[in-house]
Chain length 217, copies 2
DNA sequence: CCTAACTTGTGAAGTTGTTCACAATTTAAA
DNA sequence: TTTAAATTGTGAACAACTTCACAAGTTAGG
């Protein structure tokens, strides 16, 4: 939980800010100059109060009677989220998932620049992916420092993940996105997000398995 | 929200069940026969009460004074989540993300069998990935039915995603995992999970941008 | 300039999710 | 067999999150 001028901001609110940011782009493209909390809410299946409350944590962006200025609000949210600047990103593990990430167009668009790629496979080290050379993971800590990497994406097998994370943390990087299907430990000052596709699938199977109870219970 | 014998189960609880399931595998491998809620909690950075409450929604699995039987609990959770059986899965879109998913070993292990692959690119249609033929997406609805597909993974560009989802829903599939960076609409009886890696990155940048406030505010 | 229609921002109320606290039960040791 | 230590299961208390409801401000039309 983060505090902004004494208010607690939940991860849910942060997530919705990202949704608003994307939606405002759509509205911009559709030619809207202002938008009401009701419009935003309808398109995201939220309540207008939720939208207003989320934004209210960060300031007053709207005009009563009129709504929010689309372009300006989008810019403000970009600043809040921190995507009004470029970020130096490194990728560890250039297997299936890593390769997909290097080619992921959304990343470039959003200012996430993958500057370095690492792997421990000698056959991959020295090769290039989208113009980026693959380095030996033994040089991880040193190179993260040298290139001022701020975010590391970990896409290595589960067994290797904690070791990589430890090196990343030791290098002073405070933000990690992991695709390893493992529980990872980081100090409290480091932000870690874990994506696990198998767990996402299990949400689906839970609902498929139990939805009948939803109606019959 | 799902109800089991009148109790409401949150998505957070479902998520934690997946974590317990994986942790119990580790404990099994480490040779434990029983485990306490405290042990489970410590390893997942949760409270023992949280663990016990989560499990209590589904029954009484422990023995007072002793804890939970590792192997048996794992099996019970598998049944609750619905991963004690094989699921027929189809993948739509065999680009970077789709290719990574086809090769994702966790899926096979968990009983998620990708039976069909679809794409709209004539150069890809007819080719094989991990032994699975790529079909023309125009045959999507018909083939989902024919092969009794229960879960569809959507890994197509944002602009195409809603169209694909509509076909999938029309085919009677009730569970969708999407990697498209778009807002998708599904009827309420369909479960949709959306993964958006750019949004995950934005959680990180939010924290990197605002964590100073955490300490100074 | 006045009024009607809108819409924000926010304290308060309501809802959902987490943690507490303890009775009930089991085990193990004396 | 008794007692001490451990641990579950769960109602109640607490905390976090969402929605309500309305005062305050803005716009547009007459």
């Amino acid at each position: 939980m983060v505090r902004i001028t004494g208010k607690r901001i939940s991860e849910s609110t942060i997530h919705r800010l990202s949704l608003y940011y994307r939606l405002l782009k759509v509205l911009q493209d559709e030619g809207y100059e202002t938008v009401s909390s009701k419009d935003l809410a309808d398109r995201e299946k939220l309540t207008p109060a939720q939208v207003r409350k989320d934004l209210s944590f960060f300031g007053q962006f709207g005009t009563r009677g009129l709504g929010y200025p689309v372009t300006e609000l989008r810019q403000q949210i970009a600043e809040i989220i921190g995507i009004n600047k470029k970020w130096n990103v490194a990728l560890v593990g250039i297997g299936n998932v890593g390769s997909a990430l290097v080619s992921y167009k959304e990343f470039q668009k959003q200012g996430f620049h993958i500057k370095l790629i690492f792997d421990n496979d000698q056959r991959k080290i020295g090769s290039f992916h989208k113009g980026i050379e693959v380095h030996d993971v033994v040089n991880l800590r040193q190179m993260l420092n040298k290139y001022n990497i701020e975010i590391v994406i970990v896409a290595v097998p589960g067994a290797a993940a904690q070791g990589v994370v430890n090196e990343v943390v030791a290098a002073g990087v405070n933000a990690i996105l992991s695709f390893a299907p493992t529980n990872l430990r980081v100090p409290s000052h480091v932000t870690l997000r874990s994506e696990n596709m198998a767990i996402e699938m299990e949400h689906l199977t839970f609902h498929l398995t139990n939805e009948n109870l939803y109606y019959t219970a």
